[in-house]
């Protein structure tokens, strides 16, 4: 079929092996990056928490514990974890609907996250948002947005507010390769460059927009979307934690100083289907295997062990604790209450006594 359409079709064929190529990782070590060894351990834990949270969430979904869409971030955890480490706690982050990883990295607890999936009042969005709408505003995590491309202008707006208040804060706005085709991105890049907004736009290029490989939905290189505006830009590997930290620390500091925007394409890969219902027949097993061989968690583990920073026992201990934490999160979600019926009419308007709502 691929070939048949290759001949006649308008959209390039899907018979693409290697939807995305990985740039070289950084040569720097955790030492040269000034990352303390226990911090490294914390980063390992951070990635593993996201991984286990989602593996369990998938099980719960299959058990029918909750409905809706479930999009897993598994494979992309180096970006969420490294980015969060590179930023200040009061820097702002906004992302798309594949948001569990970023949310957990930013501070949403496994409990609050799992409860949100279950639609419980104790969830990170009070059960109103679900998987695609994790929010943790006190930790400067602005969600969780499900209309592809629609949150891209919001990122610029969050940065605009910070700039207007002369707060030296950086806003990071993440979105997928598929969102690159929405005009909202171009309008935002023009405005950000024109108004010198302290925002970093991040393309999470995981090779596919649903079942469509990058080359089939976007002409040219994604990062080149920055060219017309003269915006600073770069491409990095999102499969290597240290690379992510190295790049985002430098860029964040620069943006903090000169308040000029960046566009960064982060090449990564999602191991699972687009959502739970997607068998992912559009890609080759070889491709999946290859990217799994770059797994960011395994990679950090090897890095730690090879350098004898910690021993296997220590990492197993962390895994064990996280496994516990996630199981507790599931119990918590199970045992939490659903929102009161009254909640249906709350949080629509700023004032809950808004007239004529019923």
């Amino acid at each position: 079929m691929g070939n048949e359409t290759e001949v006649a079709g308008f959209t390039p064929t899907g018979a693409v092996y290697k939807s995305t190529k990985l740039p070289k990782p950084t040569r720097k070590t955790h030492k040269s990056l000034g990352i303390k060894e226990d911090e490294l351990l914390g980063l390992y834990e951070c990635m593993y928490r996201q991984r286990r949270f989602e593996e369990r969430a998938a099980q719960m979904y299959q058990k029918g514990k909750f409905g809706g869409f479930l999009h897993l971030y598994i494979g992309q955890e180096a970006l969420s974890s490294g980015l969060n480490y590179a930023l200040n706690d009061d820097d702002d982050i906004i992302t798309a609907y594949r948001d569990h990883g970023m949310g957990l990295a930013r501070g949403i607890s496994a409990k609050a996250g799992m409860a949100e999936l279950f639609g419980k009042a104790s969830g990170c969005s009070n059960g109103k948002g679900g998987s695609m709408h994790f929010f943790d505003v006190k930790n400067h995590f602005w969600g969780g947005h499900a209309i592809v491309g629609a949150h891209v202008p919001l990122g610029g707006g969050i940065a605009l507010a910070n700039k207007m208040r002369n707060e030296e804060k950086v806003t990071v706005c993440l979105f997928g390769d598929g969102a690159v085709d929405q005009g909202s991105l171009n309008e935002s890049l023009n405005l950000a460059q024109l108004w010198k907004l302290p925002v970093i736009y991040v393309i999470e290029n995981n090779g596919y927009s649903m079942g469509t490989a990058v080359q089939r939905h976007s002409a040219g290189e994604l990062v080149d979307r920055a060219l017309p505006y003269g915006m600073k830009h770069d491409v990095i590997s999102g499969m290597d934690l240290l690379t992510v930290i190295d790049k985002f620390r430098d860029v964040a500091e620069e943006v903090r100083k000169d308040s000029m925007p960046w566009l960064i394409e982060v090449r990564t890969y999602r191991y699972r289907g687009h959502s739970m219902s997607d068998p992912a027949n559009y890609r080759s097993k070889e491709e999946l295997q290859e990217f799994k061989s770059y797994d960011p968690i395994e990679r950090l583990k090897t890095y730690i062990l090879e350098r004898d920073l910690f021993d296997e026992k220590k990492l197993d201990e962390i895994n064990g604790n996280i496994d516990e934490e996630i199981l507790e999160a599931i119990d918590f979600a199970e045992n939490s209450d659903f929102p009161d019926d009254e909640e249906l009419y709350k949080h629509i308007y700023a004032d809950d006594d808004f007239p004529y709502l019923r």
Partner: protein
Amino acid sequence: MAEKQFREAIREAMTEEMRRDESVFLMGEEVAEYEGAYKVTQGMLAEFGGRRVIDTPISELGFSGLGVGSAMNGMRPIVEFMTFNFAVVGIDQIINNAAKIRSMSGGQVKIPMVFRGPNASAGQLGATHSVAYESLYAHFPGLITIFAADPYDAKGLLKSAIRDNNPVIFLESEQTYGMKQEVPEEEYLIPIGKGTVKREGSDVTLVAHGKMVHVAKMAAEQLAKDGVEAEIIDPRTIKPFDIDLVIESVKKTNRLVIVDESHPFGGVAAEVGFQIQREAFDYLDAPVQRVTVPDVPAPFSKKLFDLWFPSPKDVIEAVNSVTYRK
């Protein structure tokens, strides 16, 4: 007659019309190689190839506009939105271009095309992914809006929509795609703008379209047990709306409840209720009542969602009020 799923019925409608007319083609996200996010377009790429079944980037504004332009220039595009919630970023091409260019050109262009895809809620998808848009599209002249409830109507109406020379908004539902019904082998068309009586009854008239038809049916069965015979009218086409059929029924039942998944303010239910009080004022024994989602966005939590979504119970309560049985 063979039983067919809703998704098969619309696939047949598209396939038959594409075989019949070279100028018909299909474009949308994941319609070709993925064979549809909801498997509606299965096999179509294989039969028609990549020049007539076209995968698009996530550029609703762009590809809707390409569709309109190609229709102006003689093609008959079927533009699929993965859901109509996503059409909002491309809606300018529908409201300002598809609906108005014929008029602004003094009739020099026709825009024969169909915008189709799932509409309204489909379970716990959250506020942005659960909106019923028929009221919005029906508000704007220049468009035809259809929301079919079952496979038989869907096939006959979609074929008519593809042959129609106007821009048609054709609404479906993820939740009815799997629904089965007997669909004839031989070709048939259902006229746009004509409603149908889905159940006969003499005590109260229920007007319902799309997914709500099934909610109304469940309510009617319950009511029958209590000796209340409800007549269910499915307009099938929202615009032009077959008000005459409703008037007829109301003249018989003198009571009307409209079931509509849109938000209440200025929704289809408001329009039908307004027209009926205007056209059949002297026949009404009770004010017209409506059952809609409440005037709040869809919540995610299952418990809240179930409260939000119109239920047979809500319909029965409305019927009780128009029949003064409570």
